[in-house]
């Protein structure tokens, strides 16, 4: 590796970071050379994002050294990092909705004139040039509140290019919300930057999307550095092995891969949920599908395609503007989540800690939250019965905790997800919508969640599984429906569904609107 004598652009040694006793990074050390594209790979929770945040000044390391071109640095804020030529584009970018594109690109580093005031002419001219450079058809004076998720990404990229980023650029999962052509545009820009001498660190779940782009690959697993190797020397299987620490067939223990067989896993029961021509103004429209007892329907699509919004509308969070929903054959006029829960439909949200749980409450209180009105009498709570129910589900789901009074915030991601599941199972629903249920949890719990979902379907539940994880979609779904840009662009049986078909359907951005 040290065939080039040059000082590494970035040299990390012994980076340690822990959050409340959980070690996110356990002494990570590796180098990034000047002018290379470096892939940082690893599973969810491997510590990639934390590492980026530490180097770019958003968080500080508990221990360890960061050297930039040989010089010891410790950025306290992203602004400091930017001044040193280090910029990061984080996952799930956040912008200022009240301000326009150019202001978002240049916030804090606006070009100034001689008097120290903002030079608007120059700012908008440069913004236009930057966006043109990125092939992004965006008006610098457009308000950010009105942009699509893909466009927001490009504003972020423009921001990274605007100033700084001449030494080191981090891109944290930048492609999750992008169509292939947008991804291609991004790659072009990244290559150009590399040729100018900037080092780019590309964070991703997988290697093949970066094929032909990256020079070097670093793999993290469970907060530890596993390997740094030349990309040419690695193939996908080898990378997966490094990422997971075991081979693929060990990944889903006890679960046969039925994706090839084409037969449904459990007998198809009566129709539980039917959605006809459902629409929410400005978000999605024309969504129609049905869900039968005993089956798992997977809903695939790019991040930001509107899948969560569809699920939340069915759950009553934002009542639809058009269309109708039938539960067990009866039309429902959707008003609130409470109503849908009472009708036997539950929704497990993607944002587990922000929406699925109340982290400061105990396991017990979280599990019985939707149920306590039914357990109690005359509005008075019934602690004994609550405890009995919570204990049952905590045991069944093998929630690892000291006791039921423990605050959910102190549990691991997987156990927190089990608490959310326990909460819904205690309600005994007929229809269950799972929104990215395995996002950000460890492999073992992931397999367990899959087993639970399958077992529930076998008991007659109808399950809608929203997932961006393609193997999960193919493995779990008895049928697959695909959403792109708020519209249904595909519906496949298990036998028909292939990775390619789903991908094609998922990237039909904006096509239906023209038709």
């Amino acid at each position: 590796m040290s065939d080039r004598a040059a000082t590494p652009r970035l040299a990390l040694s012994g980076i340690v970071k822990s959050f409340g006793g959980i070690h996110a990074l356990k002494g990570v050390s590796f180098d990034v050379r000047p002018g290379e594209i470096h892939a940082l790979l690893g599973e969810n929770g491997a510590g990639k994002s934390t590492l980026v945040k530490i180097v770019s000044g958003l968080q500080t390391a508990d221990a360890g050294e960061i050297r930039l071109d040989g010089e010891l640095v410790r950025f306290k804020t992203p602004m400091e990092a930017r001044e040193a030529g280090v910029v990061a584009v984080y996952q799930d970018p956040k912008l200022f909705p009240h301000l326009d594109v150019a202001e978002n690109i240049f916030m804090g580093v606006q070009p100034l004139d001689r008097l120290g005031t903002i030079d608007n002419r120059r700012m908008y001219r440069r913004a236009r040039a930057l966006l043109a450079d990125l092939d992004a058809d965006l008006d610098p004076t457009a308000m950010v509140a009105g942009l699509s998720i893909g466009e927001v990404q490009f504003v972020e990229f423009a921001r990274a290019m605007a100033e700084g980023a001449d030494r080191l650029l981090f891109l944290d999962e930048p492609t999750a919300a992008l169509t292939p052509s947008e991804t291609e545009r991004l790659f072009r820009v990244v290559r150009r930057l590399r040729d100018k001498g900037t080092s780019i660190v590309f964070i991703s779940h997988r290697l093949e999307e970066l094929e032909g782009l990256v020079d070097t690959v670093t793999v993290l697993r469970d907060g530890a550095h596993v390997a740094t190797q030349s990309a040419a020397a690695l193939d996908e299987t080898a990378v997966v092995k490094l990422m997971v620490g075991r081979s693929l067939d060990q990944l889903y223990p006890g679960e046969p891969d039925r994706s090839a067989s084409g037969s449904p896993a459990s007998p198809r029961g009566p129709e539980r949920l039917r959605v006809e021509n459902l629409g929410l103004r400005g978000t999605f429209d024309g969504i129609s599908f049905s869900l039968h007892g005993g089956e798992i329907v997977a809903m695939a699509g790019l991040v930001g395609a509107g899948r969560s919004e569809i699920a939340q509308t069915i759950f009553g969070l934002t009542p639809p503007t058009t269309g109708s929903v039938f539960l067990d054959g009866d039309e429902v006029r959707i008003t609130s989540p409470r109503q849908m829960l009472d009708l036997g439909l539950a929704y497990l949200p993607e944002d587990r800690d922000g929406e699925g749980l109340i982290p400061r409450l105990s396991i017990l209180r979280n599990i019985v939250l939707p149920l306590m009105g039914r357990l109690g009498r005359f509005g008075v709570v019934a602690p004994q019965r609550e405890r009995a129910i919570a204990r049952t589900f905590a045991t069944n789901l093998q929630i690892k905790a000291g006791n039921l009074e423990q605050a959910v915030a102190t549990l691991s991601g997987g156990n927190r997800q089990k608490v959310v599941l326990g909460k819904w199972l205690a309600m005994n629903p007929g229809v269950l919508i799972l929104d990215e249920p395995t996002h950000g949890i460890d492999v073992g719990t992931k397999a367990q969640v899959h087993r639970i979902a399958r077992a529930l379907a076998e008991k007659g539940l109808a399950i809608l599984l929203i997932s961006s994880d393609l193997p999960e979609v193919l493995r779990m779904g008895d049928r697959v429906i695909v959403i792109a840009d708020g519209r249904m662009t595909g519906s496949f049986s298990r036998a028909e569904a292939t990775q390619e078909k789903i991908m094609t359907a998922a990237s039909q951005r904006g096509r239906k609107a023209a038709a």
């Binding site: 409470r338 929406e355 109340i358 209180r365 939250l369 509005g379 909460k423």
Partner: protein, 329 residues
């Protein structure tokens, strides 16, 4: 509520108890008149009965994560209504529910505005405060009224069994009821859930809008109840009644350990903080401390108590101040 939080909450209450004791010792050292049962109960009745009822109402609102600063204005509105009802010779058993309903509606109106438009409750209730206060002025006219029949005045001026002021008994009963509602009923649990994370609560089937509106309505009812005590205590009704108690009420709630961001707090803490504030006020009154200085002391207490609550503990607050001082360029 959680295992980790329990000892800390306990420490807070213990600290309050110690402070009450210290305040009482200070008061008895300052004035020979302090240490007498009648003096203490009379003073407490004067200083904390009205405030206590409103503070309990505010606890409900703050626990769901909102704030209602129009409660004193609702009290004034209640006073003026009592006045008109007294003039009309309306019997007390009819007057009380009438006034309570109007005050509840005032609270409900605040809640509906906050919930229906997703507005910040401070802005809404600030406007409502002006509107209710002025409404009271419109209804009252220029001069005050001091000619209430005896049964209107009973609650605020009489004693139960000639020992305990009736208004303090009412505060105690209300606190008991509140304690039960907050900690032993589905509604109370929903209050806390909304205050901790309204979105997650909604996704867990809690009717967040209904719960928040209920909290605002409870606040209004408590302000109405406080107005009945008020007219008994001061035997007068004017539209500018209680225009200066907001600071006292908010301080009582925050000093009582209720998290101003919602989701945490208990009635015991609020009762203790009322007792502390009452004792301090009593002592300062006996020591002839000027009114503006008393306000200054309470304002300082308010800020210090939130600083500590924010920092988690005394040491935490100091540590954070030090770190901040160090990190400031």
């Amino acid at each position: 509520m959680t295992a980790a939080a329990a000892p800390r909450a306990f420490v807070w209450e213990l600290t309050l108890a110690v402070l009450i004791l210290l305040a009482a010792i200070w008061a008895s050292l300052t004035s020979p008149f302090y240490l007498s049962f009648d003096q203490i109960t009379f003073s407490l009745q004067q200083s904390v009965a009205v405030v206590g009822l409103i503070a309990l109402g505010l606890v409900a609102v703050v626990v769901v994560g909102e704030i209602d600063i129009s409660l004193p204005a609702i009290l004034a509105l209640g006073n003026i209504l009592f006045m008109h009802l007294a003039v009309m010779n309306c019997p007390i058993w009819l007057a009380v529910p009438l006034v309570l309903v109007v005050c509840a509606l005032a609270g409900l109106f605040n809640g509906l505005l906050v919930v229906a438009f997703g507005l910040p409750s401070l802005a809404v209730t600030l406007g409502a405060m002006g509107a209710y206060r002025a409404l009271a002025l419109l209804l009252a006219g220029q001069e005050g009224f001091a000619d209430f029949p005896a049964d209107y005045l009973w609650l605020g001026s009489s004693s139960v069994a000639d020992v305990l002021p009736a208004s303090l008994v009412l505060v105690a009963l209300a606190a008991l009821l509140f304690g039960f509602v907050m900690h032993g009923t589905v509604l109370g649990r929903c209050f806390f859930a909304c205050g901790l994370n309204a979105r997650a609560a909604r996704l867990s089937g809690v009717r967040v809008r209904l719960v928040k509106t209920t909290a605002f309505t409870i606040g209004g009812v408590m302000a109405g109840l406080a107005s009945l005590v008020y007219i008994g205590q001061f035997q007068s009704a004017r539209a500018d009644n209680a225009s200066d108690i907001l600071l006292f009420v908010v301080t009582a709630v925050v000093l009582g350990g209720v998290d101003i961001f919602g989701g945490r707090g208990n009635v015991v803490g609020v009762l203790l903080s009322l007792l502390l504030l009452g004792t301090l006020k009593n002592g300062m009154g006996l020591a002839n401390v000027a009114g503006s200085v008393q306000t200054l002391v309470i304002g300082t207490l308010l800020i210090v108590s939130v600083l500590i609550a924010q920092g988690g503990s005394w040491t935490g607050a100091f540590r954070r101040l030090r770190i901040r001082a160090a990190s400031k360029p």
